[in-house]
């Protein structure tokens, strides 16, 4: 199954343009194409399969090409001082604006949890000290102490709006970097929505995507449980979550994808721009030389300081 699927992805399909009749070769993971001869936009619809369900929803592009390129330029120039200089000077190349396949996941999460809940209380204690005249005196002060009580229980909640990548070309971390998408602007999928744009079909298996969704859901539950705990503080939170009544829908998200080629010998860096909000995300290549210099300067300062203290003694 997986072999057949990956072969199919690598394959190309031959279609004929419905406007001028010319034959087009198309990567089989794409849902759209534009005829190079007559510029007609075509939308390809395949029968849905387990790993390639039909899209339910689509979020339309809001940010246009110029704004996206501008956002990437200002993002690159504002990256950390440890970024490679050639990266900061590189010009981003636009690959394409693409409708990225992603899954919108929801479930009911039932969790058992246990934690140590810290409840504060104050105590008055006496202590001895020396006053300004050098006499030993006894004084009292109130101190805040914490008593720990164990608490265990059940927690149920809906998990909604978990978004995970369904494209092998974009990791979930890369997608998370440009989230959130405003899901209030969700549209029911219509082929006309992606016409004229690049749109991918899912290239990750549904099992993979379920796993990603589960991980994100458990992380959400953990955050909720931290907010849920009573007491002045808590520690040692342990929980086990069971997800049931799951729903998963394929949604196409608008993404501008840029490649930054900053050195001949390095692979280009992928930078994504949220096509709805303009948020930029990507991995910044760190300059080993800059980091080394910074470390050396740090060591020199500490060393000089230590030396100064040693010589003053």
């Amino acid at each position: 199954m997986t072999d057949a699927a990956s072969e199919e992805v690598a394959d190309q399909v031959e279609i004929s343009c419905q406007a001028c009749g010319s034959t087009l070769l198309l990567d089989s993971n794409l849902r759209t194409t534009v005829c190079p001869y007559c510029a007609s936009p075509s939308v390809i619809e395949r029968p849905p399969s387990a790993n390639r369900p039909a899209p339910s929803f689509v979020v339309g592009f809001v940010v246009d090409h110029d704004r996206a390129a501008e956002a990437v330029r200002s993002w690159i120039s504002s990256t950390s001082i440890f970024a490679r200089s050639d990266f900061k000077q590189a010009a981003p190349e636009l690959t394409r604006g693409v409708y990225l396949p992603a899954y919108l996941y929801g479930a009911v999460a039932d969790s058992n949890y246990s934690a140590r809940i810290g409840e504060n209380y104050t105590e008055t204690e006496t202590y001895t000290t020396t006053d300004s005249k050098g006499n030993t005196v006894t004084r009292t002060r109130t101190v805040t102490k914490t008593e720990y009580r164990s608490l265990s229980g059940d927690h149920s909640t809906y998990i909604v709006d978990v978004v995970v990548t369904a494209s092998a070309g974009v990791t979930n971390e890369a997608l998370e970097a440009i989230e959130p998408f405003d899901l209030r602007a969700l549209r029911r999928y219509e082929p006309s929505f992606i016409s004229g744009w690049l749109a991918e079909d899912p290239s990750r298996s549904k099992d993979d995507c379920f796993q990603l969704s589960h991980d994100e859901s458990v992380a959400k539950v953990e955050q909720m449980l931290h907010d849920f705990m009573p007491g002045d503080s808590h520690s040692g939170l342990q929980f086990e979550t069971r997800l049931s009544q799951e729903v998963i829908d394929l949604v196409l998200l608008p993404v501008w994808s840029f490649a930054v080629r900053y050195a001949e010998d390095r692979p280009p860096v992928q930078i994504l721009v949220n096509g709805q909000t303009g948020r930029v995300g990507g991995k910044v290549p760190i300059s080993a030389i800059k980091v080394t210099i910074a470390v050396l300067i740090g060591v020199a300062i500490v060393g000089g300081f230590a030396l100064a203290i040693a010589s003053s003694h």
């Binding site: 406007a19 936009p41 339309g60 008593e147 009580r149 969700l186 929505f193 016409s195 007491g231």
Partner: protein
């Protein structure tokens, strides 16, 4: 008017026209468009001029580059809330007037003695205010600190889970009436008597919802959480004092009705100042409002207290 089209398959809350997903659990609403059974390639053509259409950023929709017409697509619909029905006025102006006099005379000794006789009614207006009435089932998980089982600290943690049903719970959407006014007169309404048209009063002010559906749902869910937390504190958590109560509510079958409820809004003048009263339009015994205090009486009581206090000290000191 927004209408429920069908129930969500998962949590059985009604979906309304324009909902792409259930607002409670996030389940997608069923689409009417069948999916392709075989590989199809299509060029989507403009219905106006026949040219190929493509999604256009400027229009936020597929549009034709030649004739600039926009293709209609199904989007999340977020209309303004509209009232679905009116509770009729069953009390008249005279009853409202009577209720005012009665209320003013029942306020107690600290009010001016001539309040009932000198208060002059300036305005008496019928008002239909807006609110949501909802029913729902839910599973509520809770955790809280309470004094029960406490040791050195005054607080001990507790947790639990409970099924809760909500029946005809009224949540105010009114801008004209304050929250405390609504909670005072709300219980006087008979929610079973909803009519299609305003009935029982002339020249009434009819308040409109000024919220969109999505905001309304947020307000309702926030209200449900507050009610759940209050009920948990009342019935579930052991002990008598509580803090840090958190609830997590899994809702099912949330059914919301948007209704207009009747109230008499009165303004009366006492010694040059205006005071306001609100009376339920269905049961004149539900009354709330503001009224002056008698400064003279309060000073008198305070002086008496001081005198009594001094006398007590004098007696104690003399012994």
């Amino acid at each position: 008017m927004t209408t429920a089209i069908q129930n969500c398959e998962r949590c059985e809350s009604p979906l309304e026209t324009g909902d792409l997903r259930c607002s409670i659990c996030g389940q997608a609403s069923p689409a009417d468009r069948p999916h392709a059974e075989t590989l199809t390639i299509q060029i989507l053509r403009c219905k106006g001029c026949g040219a190929a259409t493509a999604y256009d950023i400027e229009h936020q929709a597929p549009s034709c580059t030649f004739c600039d017409s926009v293709v209609e697509v199904e989007t999340v619909d977020d209309p303004m809330e509209q009232s679905e029905g009116y509770l009729p006025f069953t009390t008249g102006q005279d009853e409202a007037r009577k209720a005012m006099r009665h209320w003013l005379s029942s306020l107690g000794w600290f009010r001016p003695s001539d309040l009932t006789t000198s208060a002059r009614l300036e305005q008496l207006k019928p008002l239909w205010w807006v609110g949501w009435v909802f029913d729902a089932e839910s599973e509520v998980s809770w955790a809280a600190d309470s004094n029960a089982g406490s040791r050195r600290s005054a607080w001990a943690p507790h947790s639990g889970q409970v099924n809760m049903t909500f029946d005809d719970i009224l949540v105010s959407a009114s801008r004209g009436l304050s929250q405390s006014e609504v909670s005072a007169i709300g219980p006087g309404c008979d929610l079973g008597s909803i009519r299609d048209q305003p009935e029982g009063a002339q020249n009434a002010t009819i308040e409109q919802f000024d919220l969109q559906r999505s905001q309304a749902r947020q307000q309702i869910i926030a209200a449900i959480q507050n009610i759940a937390a209050a009920r948990v504190e009342q019935n579930e958590i052991p002990g008598t004092s509580f803090r840090k109560t958190s609830v997590s509510v899994v809702l099912r079958k949330l059914i919301t009705r948007r209704i207009s409820l009747p109230a008499w809004v009165l303004a009366y003048r006492y010694k040059g100042r205006l005071y306001r009263m609100v009376i339920s339009g269905q049961d004149a015994s539900y009354v709330t409002g503001t009224a002056p205090y008698s400064i003279a009486k309060i000073i008198f009581v305070a002086l008496c207290a001081v005198v009594a206090f001094l006398a007590f000290f004098a007696v104690v000191a003399a012994r």
